[in-house]
């Protein structure tokens, strides 16, 4: 369960299984890496979402917030949900094979 918002986290998305699961984890042990990877994720997502007028924010090491330019937003837990909500906000799925999008990514 998320201790900040009380949301019940049913499953860990596969993209969040970066490290080998250990029996014991010292509190705060991987915090720096975790923060770094969340920031990187936010940056790449923003590079992608920019073309669609969406922005993603990292929130307190716990959630992400996606919003469009009119201020419509959604709180999300993991990558699986980012794409789902982005699709809802834009009205169509983001296609990673779209040549125009790829061209933009390369030039940025």
């Amino acid at each position: 369960m998320c201790i900040l918002c009380g949301e019940f986290v049913e499953q860990i998305h596969w993209t969040d299984m970066e490290r080998k699961q250990l029996d014991t984890v010292v509190a705060g042990q991987h915090q720096r890496e975790r923060k770094r990877s969340r920031n990187l994720r936010t940056k790449i997502c923003n590079d992608l979402l920019e073309s669609y007028g969406l922005t993603l924010k990292e929130w307190n090491n716990s959630k992400f917030i996606i919003m469009n330019k009119k201020g419509k937003m959604a709180v999300i837990q993991d990558l699986g949900q980012i794409w789902k909500h982005a699709e809802e906000l834009i009205g169509h799925p983001i296609d990673p094979l779209d040549p125009l999008l790829l061209q933009k990514l390369k030039s940025s």
């Binding site: 499953q11 080998k20 994720r41 699986g80 794409w83 699709e87 094979l97 061209q103």
Partner: protein
Amino acid sequence: MSNKIPITIVTGCLGSGKTTVLNYLLQQIDNRRIAVIVNEFGQAGLDHHLLRKSQEKISLVNSGCMCCNSREDLEEELKELLFQHEQLEEGYKRIIIETTGLADPAPIIFTILHNPLLRNHFDVELILTTVDVENAQLQFENSPEFVKQISVSDHVILTKNDLVTAQQKEKVIQQVKSIHPSITIFEGNNGVVDVNVLQKLKVDEPFYKQRPPSSLNEAGVSSQVQSISFHFSDALDWTAFTLWLSLLLHTHGENVLRVKGILDVGEVAPVNLNGVQHIIHPPEHLDKWPVNVSQSFLVFIVRYIDPWDILRSLEAFQHYIGSDVQLMEYQESI
């Protein structure tokens, strides 16, 4: 991971010998703590006291495509088995699921990985497909499920070998390999098959081999299944790579029949990635590099998408991912 009960799924077309093979295997191994779930009626039943039948009952989860259907019946059966497992002194050491001949294995994997209770107690370890060599040609042409069964499988068992010539058999092997280049092929005779078929083999690097377009293609069979594999020269950034893959699967998951690979993420040993359509198995951190593998690789089996688009997309992302991507093998339309 190791505490989970491994599940073996046996698929194959109607009449391709699933039950015969399974019957033989169960007699050969110590079957005392193995449970079998069958969901087909009117068959020469398995002579086994642990045999369970389940009726197909499908529940659609929100906004799911065909592969994201949850199978309620299976969920119930597995929960029941889990309950028994907890009560037994030693518990089950393996569960075998025999699917119907027409079944698409993806919903079964989805059911197990999607349910919070089941995903923590079970692990889909191995998928076997039986291929009837005599009728394989027909099934390749007419049955899209058949191609899918092969693409998600780890091992293929060729059955009814005695009814065909060596030439015909060789052709079927070529066809199977052209759908799924790194699959392991076993041969069965009247159900007699190497017991090792139940063991998951070590991961092998798909061998690089330029092949001419397959003969099936020349025969005018139009199936849109293609496969492509890549090498990565350096360690990948897991965050960036999974972001790309999760986006690809979100948008095109229905047409990505299989994705698998061994990925160097900058740790001592690589990560084993395995997915079917929208569903990715929990990535497995290996203890050491597999013997024949020296570099990260990734294999896609796709339909209706141009595999070259995937390469172009990966190339556009490669400055995030932190590694060059090189084409390893490409199989044209199968």
